[in-house]
């Protein structure tokens, strides 16, 4: 059993999540303490109850007005107010520290959430250096990354629990989020606003790496797709341009649509279909032929390719590293 990659109670790897973690523990421990104290008080009070005979002759038990008991309420309120005030102050301090986007981000990403995948746009000073990828976000460590969130269709929510809390992605407005990874690693992200059939399968990965590794990755991603080499790849390219190109883009070819994930470097990514499957040739073939079985309701139709078409397409796609 591996650890849950979405857990936000055990550890944090980003500046924002690290600021939230101790506050989460603080409120959690207070909450548990309150429950235990109240449970004990309740138990002590109820334990004095008289053994109940079945006659239910309540009338025989004398009434009493007794102590008016207001002390209980006033003392209880005074004690309750202390952790509440502490939480309030800590909340405001943390909010002030992590709410605003960084003034000088080291990297700015435009992320568009769509049913049910994530489009990631890397911008640079030279438009020719812009590129897009999907469901896998590479960032350098130690650098604040500004994330501009755009709604592609319905509302989604951007969440990488190890790095940062949630920010909704709402059509018609651009929400800002940011993250700063402190340790290299792969951090799982998940859509966390209900968005329809495949809300469950709308994941992404943030790959935090050293600046050098990031730069290397970025240079690779800026390259257009390599030209086909073998005859299979050549036929595969024609098929991809003709069939896949209606929705997908492969830079450097005639496949230029942008309503589905960019495939230019599809084989450099670790998963398929927004975290649904590990990315390997077998899964890729299964996904192309029958995506509706794997991820029912998603927007990619089943392809019904012949065995030969499929192996051609696969030969070409496998070259897109």
């Amino acid at each position: 059993m591996k650890y849950s990659p979405l857990d936000y109670l055990g550890s944090a790897a980003g500046v924002r999540a690290q600021a939230i973690l101790p506050l989460t523990w603080f409120t959690l421990l207070i909450s548990i303490a309150v429950c235990v104290i109240i449970a004990v008080l309740l138990w002590v009070a109820v334990r004095r109850a008289r053994p109940q005979d079945n006659s239910l002759e309540m009338r025989s038990i004398p009434l009493q007005r007794g102590d008016n008991g207001i002390r209980w309420i006033s003392i209880g309120l005074m004690i309750s107010a202390v952790p509440l005030a502490a939480t309030l102050v800590w909340t405001m301090v943390t909010l002030a520290a992590i709410a605003g986007p960084p003034a000088h981000p080291g990297l700015t990403l435009d992320i568009t959430a769509r049913q049910w995948w994530w489009e990631v746009q890397y911008n640079s000073a030279h438009p020719s250096d812009d590129f897009a990828t999907a469901n896998e976000i590479h960032i350098p460590i130690g650098v604040p990354v500004l994330v501009r969130l755009h709604g592609g269709d319905v509302i989604h929510s951007f969440w990488v629990p190890k790095l940062s809390g949630k920010t909704d992605v709402i059509p018609g407005q651009t929400n800002l989020s940011w993250m700063q990874a402190e340790r290299p690693g792969r951090y799982l992200g998940q859509c966390s606003e209900y968005c329809g059939y495949q809300h469950a399968h709308m994941q992404f990965e943030v790959v935090a790496e050293s600046q050098a590794d990031f730069d290397k990755w970025q240079i690779l991603q800026r390259q257009p797709a390599p030209p086909p080499v073998t005859p299979e790849q050549t036929r595969g390219l024609a098929l991809v341009e003709y069939r896949c190109g209606l929705c997908h883009r492969v830079a450097g070819t005639q496949a230029g649509a942008i309503s589905a994930p960019d495939l230019t470097h599809v084989m450099s990514r670790r998963t398929l279909a927004a975290g649904t499957l590990p990315n390997n040739p077998g899964n890729l073939v299964g996904w192309i032929q029958n995506p509706q079985n794997i991820k029912p309701g998603n927007l990619m139709p089943n392809q019904f390719l012949s065995a030969r078409q499929l192996s051609d397409a696969l030969a070409y796609l496998e070259s897109l590293k």
């Binding site: 059993m1 650890y3 849950s4 990659p5 979405l6 857990d7 109670l9 999540a17 600021a19 939230i20 506050l23 989460t24 409120t27 207070i30 909450s31 109240i38 008080l41 009070a45 109820v46 004095r48 109850a49 008289r50 239910l56 309540m58 009434l63 009493q64 007005r65 008016n68 008991g69 207001i70 309420i73 209880g76 309120l77 309750s80 509440l84 939480t87 309030l88 909340t91 405001m92 909010l95 969130l149 509302i155 969440w159 629990p161 809390g165 949630k166 920010t167 709402i170 018609g172 407005q173 929400n175 998940q190 606003e193 209900y194 329809g196 495949q198 809300h199 469950a200 029912p296 309701g297």
Partner: protein
């Protein structure tokens, strides 16, 4: 003729002749005619309760099917489309068709008895509220049963609810059904408010109201203010879907966030509206089994009102992640933390009542006292989500699912089941079985906590809400399996409750008028109460009329057997809002077909709107007009008269 308008009601004691006259005036005619025309608050109350429990059972079955799908990772018992309709319908059912109506049912049944009145202020409006609730419930479920149930959660966020992404009739059923149901909630709330301020027994000043009345009154005021927001939102959504308006459509300059504000400005006060009356049940029921008055009556009453006032200022804590500015968030965060305090007042008052009393353990006591712990668990998890940064992690995970079930089951279902054990003898004349009651309680308590306590951890381990399946990440599988098992144990507990009710209806021990030796007015009349409730109108001198001889202190004595007779017509007494001074004899309407007719007209209107069958809308509108005409037709016997003054 003028002096006819002034009359001093006769004062006297009960007699055989007097009772016979009252029976003739107040009894609903037998058979179907009586069923369709009754305006008796007790019959209407029981109908509300029975209908709400049927919806509870339906919503529970939906939950069990979902728990089967989620019992293990990557199961495929349900398709995503089926799962989405199930979780949306489950939420709609429990929140709108069970939690609020069941409390309306208890309040409808109990209020006039608690207040020393012969009926609610507007008996026909009361009947209308029930019929519309039933009709809109059937309307909404017609959608579900024809595969057109809501599929965007009970919160129904746009744009997913818009026609572009949701082309079927699902959202039209939901939008129109909610507008329809809103009429029921609104007329019910208006009726409760006027009843509380107008039809109390003489001497029942506002500081002698049972806490249940405070709870329902507060909830009703809130409903009257916030239900229009959600009715409007659903109406605008329907306009967007069917007529191409752009209230929520960003492409046309609309705002998806507008929906969220309109929905939650309703939704959060609504949460309090479905727990405050239930907290009132505990505040009134618990002291009976502790053999002493509630500790801090005034503070508990005031905290009820304070909770609601603060409750109007916390709705944005459902929207902490929507990108609103930090300064705005900090206000709502603060308000959401502060709202813990009035709730704490109630908790400490209940604890002190048990500690300073002489508790007697009955099934009702078990439900009421365990609710205190469940309330605290649901409260502290709510407190955690009130802290904005923490909520950025918690929100939309299973932590929130655990939280809201502690609130809704812990603070609504547990008190309601306890209240049934407590008041069932009054409603039926028979006791619920205590031995079966213990099984019922422990199965529900253990099953509930088994299902929902580990779910907090499921959320903290990152499992998102509203997913139809999940991967086998650490801990998720085991925790979900435990939750599924707990859900079935809880369901068995609820089943035992239904069994106990059905069984005790026939063979339960005979209750007598006051089996618990309770202090309030409803226990002064026979079980079940006669159609006119009180043969003479009681006059109150204290908060505990049936205990005052034994509690000692003060010499004030309420008058239960001696009071205004009011047997010349279908009458009850109207009193002033704060002090409960009698100032008018209220003439009550007789049984009437008008509420049912009006409801049937509205059904035709809403079905017509759904199918865009405009002729049906026209016919329905004509029926509504006809029903209103008959409703408001002047009747000489309804002319109000004031008693002579001085």
């Amino acid at each position: 003729m003028r002096q006819l308008d002034f009359r001093t009601p006769l004062i006297g004691v009960d007699s055989v002749d007097h009772e016979a006259r009252l029976l003739r005036l107040w009894t609903t005619s037998p058979g179907l005619k009586g069923f369709f025309t009754s305006v008796d608050h007790k019959q209407i109350g029981i109908r509300y309760i029975v209908t709400a429990f049927i919806f509870l059972a339906l919503g529970g079955i939906e939950a069990l099917v979902m728990r089967l799908q989620l019992a293990g990772p990557n199961l495929s018992l349900l398709t995503p489309a089926q799962y989405n309709q199930l979780f949306s319908t489950h939420g709609m059912t429990m929140i709108f068709l069970y939690a609020a109506p069941v409390l309306s049912g208890f309040s409808n049944y109990l209020w006039p008895l608690l207040l020393g009145s012969r009926d609610m202020a507007f008996p026909r409006l009361n009947a209308l509220g029930y019929w519309i609730y039933l009709a809109s419930g059937i309307f909404l479920y017609t959608g579900f049963l024809t595969g057109n149930g809501p599929n965007d959660g009970w919160f129904n966020y746009v744009p997913y609810a818009s026609r572009d992404y949701n082309p079927g009739l699902n959202e039209d059923f939901y939008a129109l059904g909610m507008v329809f149901l809103g009429i029921s909630t609104t007329v019910g709330a208006a009726n409760f408010i006027v009843t509380a301020f107008r039809t109390r027994a003489p001497g029942m000043s506002i500081n002698r109201l049972p806490i249940l009345v405070w709870g329902t009154l507060t909830a009703s005021v809130a409903n009257l203010i916030v239900v229009p927001a959600v009715s409007l939102a659903f109406f605008l959504l329907w306009m967007d879907r069917q007529f191409g308006t752009h209230f929520f459509d960003p492409a046309g300059g609309g705002q998806p966030l507008l929906w969220q504000h309109l929905f939650w400005i309703f939704g959060h006060p609504w949460v309090y509206a479905i727990v405050l009356p239930a907290m009132g049940m505990v505040s009134d029921g618990l002291p009976v089994f502790c053999r002493r008055p509630l500790v801090g009556y005034s503070l508990v009453a005031l905290s009820t009102v304070a909770t609601m006032i603060l409750g109007f200022g916390v709705w944005v804590h459902h929207m902490f992640a929507t990108g609103l500015p930090g300064l705005g968030l900090s206000f709502f965060s603060g308000a959401s933390i502060v709202i813990v305090l009035p709730s704490a007042v109630a908790v400490f008052a209940w604890l002190a009542t048990i500690r300073l009393g002489r508790p007697v353990i009955t099934t009702a006591f078990l439900f009421f006292s365990s609710m205190i712990l469940l309330f605290v668990i649901g409260g502290v998890s709510g407190f955690m989500t009130a802290s904005v940064p923490v909520d950025w992690q918690l929100t939309d995970t299973y932590f929130v699912v655990a939280h809201l079930h502690y609130v809704l089951i812990g603070i609504n279902v547990f008190p309601v089941v306890g209240a049934t054990y407590f008041w069932f003898p009054k409603m039926t004349g028979r006791m619920l079985n205590e031995r079966l009651g213990r099984w019922n309680f422990w199965t529900m308590f253990l099953g509930f906590n088994l299902a929902f306590l580990p779910m907090h951890l499921t959320g903290l381990l990152g499992m998102p809400r509203r997913v139809y399946t999940y991967n086998d990440y650490a801990g998720w599988h085991v925790l979900n399996l435990i939750t599924s098992i707990g859900a079935f144990v809880l369901a068995i507990g609820v089943l035992l409750f239904f069994v106990n009710v059905l069984r005790s209806l026939r063979i339960g021990a005979v209750a007598g008028s006051n089996p618990w030796d309770a202090p309030t007015l409803e226990w002064a009349v026979s079980s079940p109460p006669p159609p006119y409730n009180f043969s003479v109108i009681p006059t109150l001198a204290t908060r505990h009329p049936l205990w005052e001889d034994r509690l000692g202190g003060g010499g004030a004595v309420s008058s239960i057997d001696h009071g205004m007779l009011l047997d010349e017509g279908k009458e009850t007494i109207g009193t002033s809002a704060l002090d409960g001074v009698p100032d008018m004899v209220l003439e009550m309407p007789k049984d009437s077909f008008a509420p049912l007719l009006l409801t049937l007209g509205l059904v035709a209107v809403f079905v017509g709107l759904l199918l865009k069958a405009w002729f049906a809308v026209g016919i329905g509108g004509a029926v509504v007009a006809l029903a209103l005409l008959s409703w408001f037709w002047p009747r000489s016997e309804l002319r109000e008269r004031e008693p002579a003054r001085g």
